[in-house]
C-alpha cells in the first residue's frame, strides 16, 4: 500500500476522492483553503470556488439532492455565513452523502475570533467527527460520507489549524465504486421545507441524533485506551496527541465523534477510572454534557478556555511543570506586512493623510491598520465594512460623516459586501466605498473569484465588471483610479468624501503575487541617489519592505534610505513622496 506524507487538508481531499465524491465547493478561508486546492487535482471531482460559504453549501446541497456525494469546506466563521441552509438541511437530510468541513482556528493564527464550531453540530442537530491526524482526516472523511447516507443527515467534520496544516503519514486506498448514479427524483415531502413537511421531519431529526448517540458506543472511532486507571481523560482531535505526549500513562477515551456523544461509553469509561477529566480546546463542550449526565468531571478549572493547547500547556495545567518564564528580553517583532509593490499601500497612505474614519474588511488590506499607514478603524467580519459605514454615518455629525470611508477587496465585496452597497444606495447613505480590486483573493493565497476571469479548474470565465455592477445597483458616482498615482488617489478620495451621495472608487491594479501571465507586470527597479537623500524619512511613511533606513553610523539620528533592488517592483509610490528627487529608476 502506498504511503505519503499529507497535510490534514490534503488527506481530507484524498478521503473525498476515495469516497466517490463528485462535487466539492468552497469559499477559501485559512486554515481550510488547501482542501479544494487538492480536490481540483482529482478529475473525478467537480471543484469550484463559490462567492461565499452560503452559496458553496447550497451548491453542495443541490449535488446531494441530485444523488451525488458532495463536499463543502470553509473556515469556522464561514459556517456563520452558511448557517441558514445548514440548519434546514439538517431537516431535509440528504440523497447523496454530504460532508461539511469546518476548519476552526484556536489561537486565531489567521482569524478574527476563535469560536468553537462543535456548538454548531449540537445546535443544528447533525453529527460531527473530529480527526486527530492526517490518516484520520482521510478515514473520517470516508466515514462521514457513509454515515451521511446511512442516517440521512449532513455530517460535519471539524479540524483545527494544527490538524489542517500539520503533515503526517497516510496510507492511500482506491476510490470506491458501485455508488448509485445521480438522477432527478421528486420527493417534495422530504425536500420542500414548508411548515407541514418540516413538522414531520423534526421528530425524525430528534430520533436520528438519539440513534447516532447509541451507535457511537460501538463505533471504532470512539476508542477507549485503558492504561493507569487512576486518571481517565476524555479528549478528541489534536488534544488527544497532546495528552498522549504530556500524560503518557493516563487512560484515555478518544472521541472520533464529538456530537452526539456516546453516552453509554462515557458512563462505562467513567466507572473504570478513579478521576475523570476532559481535555479540550476552547469551550467546555464535552465537559458540560458529561456533567449534565450526573458524572463528576474536571475540565476548564484546569485547562485554559482561550487559545490552543500544547503539550506544555497541558503539563502546566496538571501541575507537572512551571509555565515558561518570561526572560524579559524584547526583540523587534516581525509582523506580516503588505508586499513591496502592493496596490493597497497608496490608498491607505491617502486615507491616513485625509484623516478618514475607515470601516475596514477582511483581506490583506486589513494590514492597513498597522503603522505607519494606520488607516483602518474597524474590522468585524467579511463584507461588514459597507454596512458599518452606513450605520456610523447615521449617528455622527454632518461634518464627521464626510470622513467615513468603507474599504473592501474585490473578493470580499462579492462575498457579502454587495448587499451592503445595495442598502447604501437604497437608504440614501452619503458614504464613500473603495473597492480594492486586485483581481484575486489574495490573503488566503491567490484564489480565483468571479472578478478574476478564471475558475478553480482554470477555465476562462466571465470577469465581473465592477463599474457596470455598481451602476446597476444605482450608484451615480463611480471613479476608477490608479492607486500608484498618489495625487490622483488623494484628490479623488477627497472629492468623493465631500460629496453628499453614495460614491464608489475602484482601484484597478493587480496583486503582485498573481502568477497568471499578463496580469501583474514588474516595472523598472528604483534606487536612492545617496547624494540627494537628505534623510527626511518621508519615503519610510509608506512602510514598504523594500525601503530600508540606513543610519549614518556616527551615533547621530542621521541616515539615508536604501531601496533593495531584489524586492522593488517599480510601483513608483516612494518616488512621489520624495521632495528632493533622490528616488528614481536605478541606473
Amino acid at each position: 500500500m502506498k504511503k505519503e506524507i499529507l497535510s490534514g487538508n490534503e488527506a481530507i481531499a484524498r478521503g473525498a476522492y476515495e469516497a466517490g465524491c463528485r462535487v466539492a465547493c468552497a469559499y477559501p478561508g485559512t486554515p481550510s483553503t488547501e482542501i479544494l486546492e487538492n480536490t481540483v487535482n482529482y478529475k473525478e471531482i467537480d471543484s469550484s470556488w463559490a462567492p461565499n460559504e452560503k452559496v458553496a453549501l447550497e451548491v453542495a446541497i443541490g449535488a446531494s439532492f441530485g444523488g451525488g456525494r458532495a463536499l463543502c469546506t470553509m473556515k469556522h466563521v464561514g459556517v456563520n455565513v452558511a448557517a441558514d441552509p445548514l440548519f434546514t438541511l439538517s431537516y431535509t437530510g440528504v440523497n447523496g452523502g454530504l460532508v461539511l468541513i469546518t476548519a476552526d482556528d484556536p489561537e486565531m493564527h489567521s482569524s478574527q475570533n476563535e469560536q468553537d464550531n462543535r456548538n454548531y453540530a449540537k445546535f443544528a442537530k447533525v453529527p460531527m467527527l473530529e480527526p486527530a491526524d492526517s490518516q484520520e482526516c482521510k478515514e473520517f472523511t470516508r466515514l462521514a460520507f457513509e454515515l451521511s447516507e446511512q442516517y440521512d443527515t449532513p455530517v460535519m467534520l471539524r479540524t483545527t489549524t494544527r490538524i489542517s496544516h500539520s503533515k503526517s503519514v497516510v496510507t492511500l486506498d482506491e476510490r470506491v465504486g458501485g455508488l448509485a448514479e445521480p438522477k432527478l427524483v421528486k420527493n417534495a415531502a422530504k425536500l420542500v421545507m414548508l411548515p407541514g413537511n418540516a413538522r414531520v421531519r423534526h421528530p425524525f431529526v430528534e430520533e436520528r441524533i438519539k440513534k447516532l448517540s447509541e451507535a457511537g458506543a460501538t463505533m471504532a472511532v470512539n476508542r477507549r485506551e485503558l492504561r493507569d486507571t487512576s486518571m481517565g481523560i476524555i479528549t478528541s482531535g489534536v488534544c488527544y496527541q497532546y495528552v498522549r505526549e504530556a500524560l503518557p500513562d493516563a487512560s484515555t477515551l478518544k472521541l472520533g465523534m464529538v456530537h452526539p456523544l456516546p453516552k453509554a461509553l462515557i458512563r462505562e469509561f467513567a466507572a473504570q477510572v478513579d478521576k475523570l477529566y476532559v481535555v479540550e480546546e476552547l469551550d467546555p463542550f464535552i465537559e458540560e454534557q458529561v456533567r449534565a449526565m450526573g458524572i463528576a468531571v474536571t475540565g476548564k478549572e484546569l485547562i485554559p478556555v482561550c487559545g490552543e493547547l500544547t503539550p506544555g500547556r497541558i503539563r502546566t495545567a496538571f501541575g507537572l511543570q512551571q509555565p515558561p518564564a518570561d526572560s524579559g528580553e524584547r526583540l523587534p517583532g516581525r509582523p506580516p506586512n503588505m508586499c513591496p509593490g502592493c496596490p493597497h499601500r497608496g490608498v491607505f497612505f491617502a486615507l491616513n493623510q485625509l484623516k478618514a474614519y475607515v470601516t475596514g474588511d477582511i483581506g490583506c488590506y486589513t494590514l492597513g491598520f498597522m503603522p505607519p499607514l494606520s488607516a483602518m478603524d474597524t474590522c468585524v467580519c467579511m463584507g461588514a465594512s459597507i454596512g458599518m459605514a452606513t450605520g456610523v454615518s447615521k449617528v455622527v455629525s454632518a461634518e464627521e460623516k464626510k470622513r467615513v470611508v468603507a474599504v473592501i477587496g474585490d473578493s470580499t465585496f462579492l462575498h457579502t459586501g454587495i448587499n451592503g452597497l445595495m442598502d447604501m444606495v437604497y437608504n440614501n447613505s452619503t458614504s464613500t466605498v473603495v473597492i480594492l480590486d486586485n483581481r484575486i483573493t489574495a490573503m488566503t493565497g491567490r484564489q480565483d473569484n468571479p472578478a478574476s476571469g478564471f475558475t478553480l479548474m482554470d477555465d476562462p470565465s466571465h470577469r465581473i465588471d465592477f463599474p457596470l455592477l455598481c451602476k446597476s445597483l444605482g450608484v451615480k458616482h463611480i471613479r476608477v483610479i490608479n492607486p500608484f498615482d498618489l495625487e490622483q488617489t488623494q484628490n479623488v478620495l477627497r472629492e468623493e468624501m465631500e460629496r453628499p451621495e453614495t460614491s464608489v472608487i475602484i482601484t484597478d491594479k493587480p496583486c503582485v503575487l498573481v502568477k497568471r501571465e499578463g496580469v501583474f507586470q514588474k516595472g523598472p527597479v528604483y534606487a536612492v541617489e545617496v547624494e540627494k537623500c537628505t534623510g527626511c524619512r518621508a519615503c519610510l511613511k509608506i512602510g514598504c519592505p523594500a525601503i530600508e533606513w540606513r543610519p549614518a553610523g556616527d551615533g547621530s539620528k542621521k541616515g539615508t534610505a536604501f531601496i533593495d533592488p531584489l524586492l522593488c517592483t517599480g510601483c513608483d509610490v516612494c518616488r512621489q513622496l520624495c521632495k528632493f528627487e533622490a528616488i528614481g529608476r536605478a541606473k
Partner: protein, 197 residues
Amino acid sequence: MNNRITNILLVGVGGQGILLAAEVLSEAVLLAGFDVKKSEIHGMSQRGGSVVSHVRYGTEVFSPIVPEGEGDILFGFELMETYRSLPLLKQGGAVVANDLRIAPPSVLMGQEAYPEGVTERIRERFPDFLLLDGQKLAGEAGNVRAANTVLLGAVSRRLDIEEQYWLQALEKMVPKKALEVNKKAFLLGRSSDWSKP
C-alpha cells in the same frame, strides 16, 4: 520499545524556503522507515512574518508540535529568528544558523535597531553551534536561493539517516530543473565541519 523522538525546529522569515526544507527532511525520515509529523502555521505569516516549522520523528509520534524546551536541533534561516526561538530548544541542544540578517519593519523604518551580537549570544547559551554562510555556499552550488538546502545538508550530519534517503527525498520534492543545484548545495552543507564542542 524504544520510542525516542527526534525534535527539529526550522525557523526564519516567510519566503526563505523553510517549508520546502521541512518537507525534504520529513520525506527523508519517512524513507528511512520512521513515523514523522510536521507542523507549521501558514496564512498571515506568508506576508513576511516569522515562520516556525516543527518536524518530529521516531517509532510513533503523537504531538505534531515540539513541546517547549524539548527541541534537539534548531535550524535557523535568519539570525534574529534563530535567537527568538532558542527557548524551544532543550539544554545542550544544537543550533545551525544561516549568517543572514533580515530587517523587520520597525528596523526598516529606523524605529528600532536590529539586535547586536546575536551570534555571540546564541553561542553563549548553546555552544554546539554552527554558523554557515548559506548564501555563499549556495552560490558555489549554482544558485543563492538554495541556501535552505545547504543548511539542510549541515543538519543532516547530526541525524541518523543514510545519505541515499536524503538524495531520494530531494529527487521527490525539488522541481527537476533545480535538482542538480540542490543536490550540490546539500552535499556542500553536509561536508561542513561541525564537530561537537
